[in-house]
């Protein structure tokens, strides 16, 4: 029998010497360019980090490629970031160019440090999830192809954090991202009452619906859904597999903007709905990529130094956000969920 409950390997065994020696002793860092930073420890020791983009959905051969770079330049160590980038670290200045060259040879972008658009936090999509209203890896590929230069160059005066989720479960930090793309269902679940009774527990299926849209089928076995009350959340489907929501026509993408999690300057903020529906248009989702790019460009033109997306919008007001971007404000934007009244404006302070 295999040992259970051993937990992950102790991270201390995974640290390169340069880090072990200066652990907890770092003093400051400098960002040398979009892909490279240098940390200086109290004793004066220095550490160079090269950050490299990754598609996250990778083959084991990709991992082996990374290992080769690490073995060649980094004493056999590397790490991944919280945004699925790869970081190669070395105390040797002279190794930096070698790492960069090796990464480039593999076709990997070097960047994402400082005021860049870093890698996109994303999810499974059509590659692995039953809940998905869209694909995640493909969307990310399409978006990052389009925004590539924002990863490798300094074009911004603040970070823009993007997230993609393939359904409104939002596996990731979509709800608090500068820009977020979310797959949405817009049709109620397709109830398969030939299967419901056998694969689902009816009472808990009924209870699972936050809007009370599900009730017993009055004309036979299983359940029925009241279309009017369904907000396409998919919670019923999680509980009852015989009620899938996927719909080739209905499924699409919503874009949320202005969230953040850092406390720098402004407290963490939720992302808010900017565009409620764009068509699901694989493999390149041009409507999504162009909308994101457009928002970014408007943001760049009008924002101040250091200002995150949400800080900018807070300063200029949502009315100006919609005017400047030309995005239409519709009744979809008006909250009607449980805490909706909190979002209604009780102020004479607004702009035309």
């Amino acid at each position: 029998m295999a040992r259970t409950d051993i937990g992950p390997p102790d991270f201390r065994t995974m640290l390169p010497e340069a880090i072990k020696a200066n652990y907890g002793n770092w003093q400051y860092h400098e960002i040398l360019n979009p892909g490279v930073m240098r940390h200086t420890a109290k004793g004066g020791a220095q550490l160079y980090t090269v950050r490299v983009g990754s598609p996250r959905l990778i083959s084991v051969d990709f991992v082996r490629d990374l290992c080769e770079i690490a073995d060649a330049w980094c004493d056999g160590f590397l790490r991944f970031t919280s945004r699925a980038n790869v970081e190669f670290m070395t105390p040797k200045k002279e190794n930096v160019d070698g790492i960069i060259a090796a990464a480039k040879k593999l076709g990997l972008p070097v960047g994402g440090v400082g005021d860049c658009i870093s890698n996109i936090v994303h999810t499974q999509g059509w590659v692995h999830c039953h809940s998905a209203a869209t694909d995640a890896s493909g969307l990310v590929k399409a978006i990052m192809d389009d925004l590539y230069d924002y990863f490798t160059e300094f074009r911004l005066s603040s970070k823009i954090r993007i997230a993609v989720a393939c359904c409104i479960n939002m596996c990731g930090a979509v709800h608090c991202s500068d820009l977020a793309v979310v797959g949405v269902h817009t049709k109620p679940p397709k109830v398969d009452n030939s299967r419901v009774p056998s694969v689902c527990e009816i009472p808990s299926t009924i209870r699972s619906c936050p809007t009370g849209a599900i009730r017993k089928n009055p004309d036979g076995e299983g359940v029925v859904v009241n279309r009017e009350r369904c907000m396409y959340c998919g919670n019923c489907y999680t509980v009852c597999p015989a009620m899938p929501l996927s719909d080739a026509e209905g499924d699409g993408l919503a874009i949320f903007v202005g969230g953040k999690v850092s406390n720098a300057r402004k407290s963490p903020m939720f992302s808010r709905l900017a565009v409620s529906y764009l068509p699901n248009n694989p493999p390149r989702w041009p409507e999504v990529t162009s909308t994101l790019r457009h928002i970014i460009e408007v943001f760049m033109t009008h924002s101040r130094k250091y200002e995150r997306m949400g800080e900018w919008i807070e300063r200029i007001g949502w009315e100006r956000f919609f005017t400047l971007t030309g995005i239409e404000f519709t009744d979809d934007h008006v909250d009607d969920f449980t805490m909706a009244t909190e979002s209604y404006r009780s102020s004479m302070q607004f702009r035309w």
């Binding site: 040992r3 259970t4 992950p8 390997p9 102790d10 991270f11 995974m14 640290l15 880090i19 652990y23 907890g24 770092w26 400051y28 860092h29 400098e30 980090t49 598609p55 996250r56 990778i58 083959s59 084991v60 051969d61 991992v63 990374l66 590397l78 790490r79 991944f80 970031t81 919280s82 699925a84 790869v86 936090v121 059509w126 039953h130 998905a132 493909g138 590929k141 399409a142 192809d145 590539y148 939002m170 990731g172 930090a173 979509v174 709800h175 608090c176 936050p210 959340c233 996927s246 080739a248 999690v261 406390n263 720098a264 300057r265 402004k266 939720f270 493999p283 130094k305 250091y306 449980t338």
Partner: protein
């Protein structure tokens, strides 16, 4: 013509391509090959071809594997079963290449050879294996020193930022803490028995580089109690380099706690007013340092929108020193889980349970004294449940 024209398009472009990666794996793995077919079909039909779950697991554990079956088994038999194995990452996502290569070898043998480094909770996601391979895969991982991460209604794999390993702002040892808490609660991690999932994330400072406040039920964010420290010699150098101290630093301070004297080129802080947002420290890395009485704020309840709307974690303990063996925080966790176990409804995250019962009740159960730091503002309604 290629059988995957839509996906092929995603091999173009400058950003590295996941399609290339699936194809690399597909070269000597039929499951990976059929995955490509399934995904192409989704791209064509614009619907997912994965079916809802199914319980798959390893002996002795209740989670760690996500069962997954395709709804087109006839077309793509090799990927009919395509279960995910979640592997707990080492704190900070640091690896030696030996371990990484070992994982690659195991996964090439036991699965599709396709993986995520990492899933957004933080696990290594080994994507796509058959039921009969799950246990052998686990056995080999275990022999290699790795263990499964969480899935289901249990403690999920804790994660933390790089912290003291490379960051000058880490107010506590995020890596050690994550490792310790993961090891201490292996049972809670592997054997789901709660109302729903429970996530822990730790960021070393208010920059929150793992988005802990948004993505974890139990959130630790480093901070300090004394004053940040300004080195005015370095300030002068920044000014010489063209930094506009007034506009870019002083005016952007949310605490209105900085003053800058143009003549002497000195920056001063009123420590009582500083809200430790990190802005000035972030931008003047050489000149401004965090304080030295360090610890963490504990926040509770962060989660995604299902079902009552998303929550960002709420301040629970404004300041706690965080030193091994982390007894205070472990006691708190145990108390929280007990209470949640008792009061939480099925599929109710801790934030929802607290929202339903009221923070006041929760604090009482935790034995925590309410302080103003927990609220944006006191209640505006007069509906106090007086206990007189």
């Amino acid at each position: 013509m290629s059988s995957t024209p839509l996906l092929d398009d995603l091999e173009n472009g400058r950003w590295p391509s996941f399609v290339k990666e699936i194809k690399r794996a597909a070269k000597n793995n039929p499951a990976a090959k059929d995955l490509l077919g399934i995904v192409e079909l989704s791209y064509k039909e614009k619907v997912t071809h994965w079916k809802h779950g199914g319980i798959v697991g390893v002996v002795g554990y209740g989670g760690g594997v996500i069962g997954r079956y395709s709804d087109v088994p006839k077309m793509f038999p090799a990927a009919e079963q395509f279960h995910t194995v979640r592997v707990n990452h080492p704190s900070g996502w640091f690896y030696d290449t030996k371990s990484l290569r070992k994982i690659c070898d195991i996964w090439e043998k036991q699965g599709s050879g396709i993986t995520n480094f990492h899933g957004s909770t933080g696990d290594i996601i080994l994507l796509g294996t058959r039921t009969e391979n799950v246990q052998p895969c686990f056995n080999e991982l275990s022999d290699a020193g790795f263990d499964l991460g969480g899935s289901g209604s249990c403690l999920r794999t804790p994660a933390g930022c790089i912290g003291p390993a490379r960051c000058e702002w880490a107010c506590f040892d995020t890596l050690d803490f994550v490792n310790d808490v993961t090891q201490s609660f292996q049972d809670e991690l592997h054997r789901p028995r709660w109302p729903y999932k429970f996530k822990i994330k730790a960021s070393g400072c208010p920059n929150d580089c793992v988005a802990a406040i948004a993505r974890s039920d139990f959130t630790l964010i480093g901070t300090w109690r004394d004053s940040l420290v300004i080195d005015n010699e370095e300030i002068k150098k920044y000014v010489a380099k063209g930094v506009n101290m007034r506009e870019d630093i002083v005016d952007r301070c949310p605490g209105s706690s900085l003053s800058y004297d143009e003549k002497t080129q000195t920056l001063t802080v009123r420590p009582d007013e500083c809200v430790r947002c990190m802005h000035c420290i972030n931008k003047l890395t050489k000149a401004i340092k965090i304080g030295s009485k360090r610890g963490a704020t504990i926040l509770i309840g962060g989660k995604a929108p299902i079902l009552r709307g998303a929550f960002l974690s709420w301040v629970l303990v404004p300041f706690m020193e965080l030193k091994p063996p982390y007894t205070e925080i472990k006691d708190l966790l145990a108390k929280i889980w007990d209470w949640w176990d008792e009061h939480g409804r099925n599929r109710e995250r801790i934030a929802e349970t607290i929202a339903r019962t009221g923070l006041k009740e929760f604090l009482k159960a935790m034995g925590i004294k309410p302080v103003p730091q927990m609220v944006k503002h006191p209640r505006s309604n007069p509906f106090v449940f007086y206990n007189r």
